[in-house]
């Protein structure tokens, strides 16, 4: 079950680092390394239902004009509480943040508001990632501008994201916020889990079949190239059963942030694959859950 992409075959010309096209395609195909993807997803939906049964349905609020531009808010009863904003993954394809409510209870219990953003998948943007990054950035700006309306503290906003949501969270923490009319330090900290921070190898992989990469997209949304804009402490995390290329993306990003002299913590979750590590974000006693709560000053 410790799946690896080592089917016997003749190796083709190298496309990225030591990988030929097939190896690179496999490196960006989680199912090759995590055969229990669908089972974990089932578990996530089940646990999300349980959380809604315990906490009640979230508030559904619009952060933008498109129907998809809404968010789920699980509110804590503590006044002026910090806020965590979660950006879901799914290889940039359409997903619903409803299936990630399982992460909310840990935060609400610890005294924070949990906000989960819905936003377009590439299906809704003709394959363009730039409008998706704009949506999640607008989502964050909306939370800043409206935090007080739901008892949140606009000066204690944190973000997290996993997989392609980790990529987008990387974009969020390297945003030029002057374009959004909010302070440059709107985000106070982040958890970037199993993300991609350099899009060149992704563009070279078969993900190009459904993502319409352009030079602009690659440049603008490779957060590793915009570390000058990073101004909050971040946690970068990956699991040891993720694809080696995903592990590399996270290791090298953390290294680059460190080299830039900015605060970063690298967490390696031993024995977790790409989907199992996301579950840890909902467990206050896991490596990731504990680190997030500490980053937010909640434990």
């Amino acid at each position: 079950m410790n799946a690896t992409a080592t089917a016997q075959r003749a190796k083709g010309p190298l496309v990225w680092l030591d990988m030929d096209q097939q190896a690179l395609d496999d490196a960006y195909d989680q199912l090759v390394y995590a055969p229990n993807r669908d089972q974990v997803h089932k578990r996530n939906m089940f646990n999300s239902d349980r959380v809604r049964a315990r906490l009640g349905a979230p508030k559904r609020l619009a952060y933008g004009p498109k129907p998809i531009e809404q968010l789920d808010l699980f509110a804590t009863d503590k006044p002026n509480a910090p806020i965590t904003i979660f950006i879901h993954g799914g290889a940039w394809r359409a997903r619903t943040v409803k299936d990630y409510a399982y992460q909310a209870e840990m935060m609400v219990r610890a005294g924070a508001h949990w906000v989960g953003l819905d936003f377009d998948g590439v299906e809704g943007t003709n394959g363009d990632l730039l409008p998706m990054a704009d949506q999640v950035r607008r989502g964050v700006a909306w939370v800043y501008n409206n935090a007080k309306s739901f008892g949140g503290n606009p000066d204690r906003i944190f973000v997290s994201g996993q997989s392609s949501g980790g990529h987008l969270a990387g974009n969020v923490v390297t945003t030029d916020w002057s374009k959004y009319g909010v302070p440059a330090n709107v985000v106070k900290g982040g958890l970037l889990c199993s993300g991609m921070y350099e899009l060149k190898p992704v563009r070279l992989s078969k993900r190009s079949q459904y993502v319409a990469f352009t030079d602009e997209c690659e440049e603008e949304l490779s957060s590793q190239r915009h570390l000058d804009r990073l101004n909050c402490p971040i946690i970068v995390a990956y699991g040891t059963y993720e694809t080696p290329e995903f592990q590399r993306q996270n290791r090298e990003f953390a290294e680059a942030v460190k080299k830039a002299g900015k605060p970063v913590t690298l967490l390696v979750a031993e024995g977790y694959n790409h989907f199992e590590i996301a579950e840890c974000i909902g467990n206050p006693l896991s490596l990731l859950g504990d680190a997030m709560l500490k980053q937010m000053g909640l434990v």
């Binding site: 390394y33 974990v40 349980r50 006693l285």
Partner: protein
């Protein structure tokens, strides 16, 4: 490439004579072989061992205390910060033949942070004692009686002792909660105030008919005495049952039928089904206080997650 589907099923075969319910020998053997249905067994077990190491780094080593004369009879105690706190005793699984308390330290913090002491006994594996589950049962029961008598020495409340366990440890929870404590161990019949059992076995007949008989020396006495389902008259505390819907159908049936029997006996019992969890993932989940299993174990103690 992927070497195993997430929720595996046994390979197709020509069906032989029925041995138990609708199962032939091969199907019954598979039903009691977790790896057939949970291909990630070794990954999850390794992860729990690693998370146990990390837990010890945070908590420090547990107290190691002896409860009996043989080399196996010692237990690990992680003590709560508050005095006179309730006690959870976790009985580990491993098909009765593998496992040590130290591999289960990963679950300690779920109880400690909620304000309870956590005790994890070691005991002989079935291979150490000539295949006798009765010898194991006596060790585990003595560990519980020892905790009752010595609770105050580590700050525990002897009047608030609970048990939990999973797999063969779930079998032991059933056995412990249907023990004749007063007669056999000289402690109150109400020594246990509640229990949480994950993925357990409560009737040993089908287990005896399976290939587990190759390493467990089942006798009529073993089967009768250690089938909790047959001793519900001795059950005097609430029990929470949990299983995963990716477990073997026979393990799921064991929990469902035990639940129905306890309920029919008019005694307090709950059943939680964890969707998307296999046998080992249920085991792991008790370490997460927000999971169904972790929460069930805390609720039976009248505690809430921290």
């Amino acid at each position: 490439m992927a070497t195993g589907a997430a929720s595996a099923q046994p390979a197709a075969h020509i069906k032989g004579p029925l041995v138990w319910m609708n199962m032939d020998q091969k199907e019954l053997d598979d039903a009691y072989d977790q790896a057939v249905y949970a291909p990630n067994r070794n990954i999850v077990l390794k992860r729990c061992v690693r998370n146990s190491e990390l837990a010890r780094e945070r908590l420090g080593a547990p107290k190691r205390l002896t409860y009996g004369p043989t080399k196996f009879e010692a237990l690990d105690v992680f003590t709560a910060k508050t005095p006179n706190a309730p006690i959870m005793i976790y009985v580990h699984g491993g098909s009765w033949r593998v496992g040590t308390a130290s591999q289960y330290h990963y679950l300690a913090e779920a109880f400690l942070t909620a304000g309870a002491n956590i005790v994890i006994p070691d005991f002989a594996n079935v291979g150490d004692v000539g295949g006798s589950l009765l010898t194991m049962a006596d060790q585990i029961r003595r560990s519980v009686a020892w905790v009752y008598k010595n609770a105050k020495e580590f700050g525990g409340d002897p009047e608030r002792i609970y048990v939990s366990g999973q797999s063969s440890g779930g079998h032991w929870v059933g056995v412990l909660m249907t023990t004749d404590w007063q007669t056999d161990y000289g402690v109150p019949m109400t020594i246990l105030k509640g229990g949480a059992s994950g993925s357990g076995m409560y009737d040993l007949k089908p287990v005896r008919l399976s290939k587990r008989s190759e390493f467990v020396k089942f006798t009529d006495e073993t089967e009768q005495k250690l089938s909790a389902m047959r001793h519900l008259d001795k059950l005097v505390a609430p029990i929470a049952l949990v299983y995963g819907d990716q477990e073997t159908p026979e393990f799921q049936r064991q929990s469902r039928d035990f639940y129905a029997a306890v309920k029919a006996a008019g005694k307090p019992v709950t059943l939680s089904v964890m969707e998307g969890y296999n046998h080992f993932e249920v085991m792991e989940s008790i370490g997460n206080p927000l999971s169904l299993f972790g929460r069930a174990a805390l609720e039976v103690m009248k505690l809430r997650p921290a």
